[in-house]
């Protein structure tokens, strides 16, 4: 049984105006098979948490720890984290010129497994996953994210989630910018990945609508760089009705 533990995490970023403190003591434990929703207003630090888990070099960890089955993730390189079983579906997936989706997926799978996947089953798996996500076959030969629409980029993230089979995945606003049909397709993909591999999920979202399709076990309200409140799915319903206003302290307004 795998576990991802985030302990008293403090993170800052360098800006033109100097060092900016973003995360101010995040504590969170996710067990394999659990779905945790992190909900919070724009600018509260949700993406910072996601990027810090993945190891983006822009974010400086001042103190705290992230443990994957007891091993310190913060000491690992970005690629080592992925190989250890962490996955980040990005809010803004990046275009990679010159690299086709096919080539990218095979290279990533090979890197993560430590050996090339058996060709025939791999091709079949990729096709199946693309069909499930209603992705046209032509995507396979296009360059990663190049000229993809917002919705196509998000599907491509979930395609990777399904094929790379991580232990824990952080989905950073995968729902934003999706119309309801795309939202359903993407949510189905996430649910399928969970059913197939039993991964743990950290579902970052600004809105509650994705929670209609992906049902969280826990909901955390994220405000001003830390978790302000946590509870079960009913907390999401409350946020839907009341918004984030009651969590916003005056210093965070404007």
């Amino acid at each position: 049984m795998s576990v991802l533990e985030i302990k008293d995490l403090h993170v800052s970023v360098e800006t033109d105006q100097g060092t900016k403190q973003i995360l101010r003591g995040v504590d969170l434990t996710i067990n394999e098979g659990e779905i945790h929703a992190i909900m919070g207003p724009n600018g509260s630090g949700k993406s910072t948490l996601a990027y810090t888990i993945a190891g983006h070099p822009k974010y400086h960890v001042e103190s705290g720890s992230i443990l994957l089955d007891g091993a310190e993730v913060l000491k690992m390189t970005v690629d080592a984290r992925a190989r250890a079983g962490l996955f980040l579906a990005m809010q803004y997936p990046v275009e990679i010129p010159g690299v086709t989706v096919t080539n990218f997926l095979r290279t990533a799978k090979t890197a993560i497994e430590g050996e090339a996947p058996p060709i025939r089953t791999w091709i079949k798996d990729v096709r199946q996953a693309m069909t499930d996500l209603r992705m046209d076959k032509a995507f396979a030969e296009r360059n990663v994210n190049e000229g993809f629409s917002g919705g196509e980029k998000k599907r491509n993230e979930i395609l990777q989630l399904e094929l790379l089979k991580p232990k824990f995945a952080v989905l950073d606003e995968t729902d934003s910018g999706l119309d309801v049909d795309a939202l359903k397709i993407v949510s189905e993909g996430v649910n399928r990945a969970k059913a197939n591999t039993g991964l743990g999920l950290l579902l970052i979202t600004h809105y509650t609508r994705i929670l209609r399709y992906i049902h969280p076990d826990f909901v955390h309200v994220f405000v001003n760089g830390r978790i302000a409140e946590q509870g079960g799915p009913e907390l999401a319903d409350r946020l839907e009705d009341e918004g984030y206003d009651r969590f916003l302290v005056p210093s965070n307004v404007g």
């Binding site: 993945a54 190891g55 983006h56 070099p57 390189t77 970005v78 690629d79 984290r81 992925a82 190989r83 996955f87 980040l88 990005m90 997936p93 990046v94 275009e95 990679i96 010129p97 010159g98 690299v99 086709t100 080539n103 990218f104 290279t107 990533a108 890197a111 993560i112 360059n143 190049e146 990777q160 790379l164």
Partner: protein, 414 residues
């Protein structure tokens, strides 16, 4: 990150705006709209039709190079005044070639009837070489079977040289000629490529010079009726390498594919001015140049001129240049020009783009388990493979893939 324009039937005489992109950040090359020709309007300098440029084999007919000339303005001319203004040694030099039954490699005198039939110098370095050479190296292809020959220059050394080469493909002949350049060089030269009726010739010019080499070359090709020329420029090594191919599609139904592959690392200047002149009906051209830049001061220039002459009804042409910028501190210029003198064309278009491989891309790939080294290799290989795969010589293609990877690693040390 790309701009393209395509033009189908149009009765306009057109000159689209060129575009230059220096790559510090992401640089789309801008939209190259087809514009109406603008001479006669106040304030505009009339654009000279490409085929009207001054030509001469005599170096004295050209003014000293200042660097302001259209053909020189992107080049570091001060670094090779010995090749544009000085005396260059035009004597024979050692060449090695792999034996091939229907291909002869020999030195021929200046009086050889083929000399000057494919093209003439349009700038001073080319004229300097033309004035200086004693004998020309002639590679003559006959025989209808496919075959390959590699002609290697590896001991030119660092004294200034002028050279002249002829490649002639007899009617209906077929061959791949690989010109391999290694070692040191301070060389200015002209290469004439002459394709007889229905000949099918591939010429690959491979620049893997030493780090300090300077190589200025003009390739002039004349493609006969129904003949097909594939011309490939691969520039990897050398300090300054400037290869300017001009191809005249001289016979009806003639066809050319011009490919280019370059990888500029720190301090390198790699330039190519490509010119395709459609001078016969039903001629077809495709130009595809791709380059990667990595390291401080890596500099590339691509100029692509296509002229569709008034005799060239029913032509089809497309040219593109793409650059991949791997680090800060590089500059890629990419300038397509299209000139059309006939209303009857099947297609004409061009595209030019400079894209950047940056830290966010690296992060994205690493976040999928791919190491940094592998990530760069993946991107560069993916980008350049399209051109490598079209060369059509499996052995050379495999060797180039390795050479490209060596480039990637090589610059990491600098």
């Amino acid at each position: 990150m790309s701009a393209a324009s395509a033009l189908s039937k149009s009765a306009l005489k057109t000159v689209p705006a060129p575009s230059t992109s220096a790559a510090e950040s992401v640089l789309p090359a801008g939209q190259h709209g087809i514009k109406e020709h603008s001479d006669g309007r106040f304030g505009y300098v009339p654009v000279q039709t490409r085929s009207d440029r001054f030509k001469s084999v005599n170096v004295a007919d050209f003014e000293a190079v200042t660097g302001r000339e259209a053909v020189w303005k992107h080049s570091p001319v001060a670094k090779f005044t010995d090749l544009t203004a000085g005396h260059v040694d035009g004597s024979r030099y050692p060449v090695e070639s792999t034996p091939s039954p229907d291909i002869s490699v020999e030195w021929v005198p200046r009086t050889d009837a083929r000399i000057g039939t494919a093209g003439l110098p349009e700038e001073r370095a080319a004229a300097n070489a033309w004035s200086a050479f004693d004998d020309a190296l002639a590679i003559t292809v006959s025989g209808e079977e496919a075959k390959e020959i590699t002609v290697t220059r590896s001991t030119l050394g660092n004294s200034t040289r002028g050279a002249h080469t002829i490649i002639e493909a007899k009617p209906f002949s077929q061959a791949t000629v690989i010109l391999q350049n290694t070692g040191g060089a301070r060389l200015t030269e002209n290469l004439e490529i002459i394709l007889g009726e229905s000949a099918n010739l591939t010429v690959v010019s491979l620049q893997e010079w030493d780090d300090s080499a300077v190589h200025l070359a003009n390739h002039f090709a004349s493609v006969g009726r129904d003949a097909r020329l594939k011309h490939v420029v691969v520039s990897l090594g050398g300090s300054i390498v400037r290869i300017n191919p001009s191809v005249r599609l001289a016979g009806p139904g003639s066809d050319t594919l011009l490919l280019g592959l370059y990888f500029a690392d720190a301090g390198q200047h790699l330039e190519q001015q490509v010119y395709v002149f459609h001078d016969a009906p039903k001629s077809r051209s495709r130009v595809n140049y791709k380059g990667a830049l990595q390291g401080q001061g890596a500099r590339t220039v691509w100029i692509g001129d296509v002229l569709i002459g008034n005799k060239a009804a029913g032509t089809d042409s497309y040219e593109q240049n793409r650059n991949l910028v791997l680090t800060e501190g590089t500059r890629a210029d990419s300038i397509p020009n299209l000139e059309i003198e006939t209303g009857d064309i099947v297609g004409a278009g061009h595209a030019s783009a400079t894209g950047r491989f940056d830290d966010e891309q690296l992060f994205y790939l690493q976040a999928r388990g791919i190491t940094e080294e592998e990530a760069r290799r993946l991107v560069v290989r993916g980008f350049l493979t399209e051109v490598v795969q079209q060369i059509g010589s499996p052995e050379l293609e495999a060797r180039l893939q390795l050479a490209i990877e060596a480039e990637l690693i090589g610059t990491d040390d600098k």
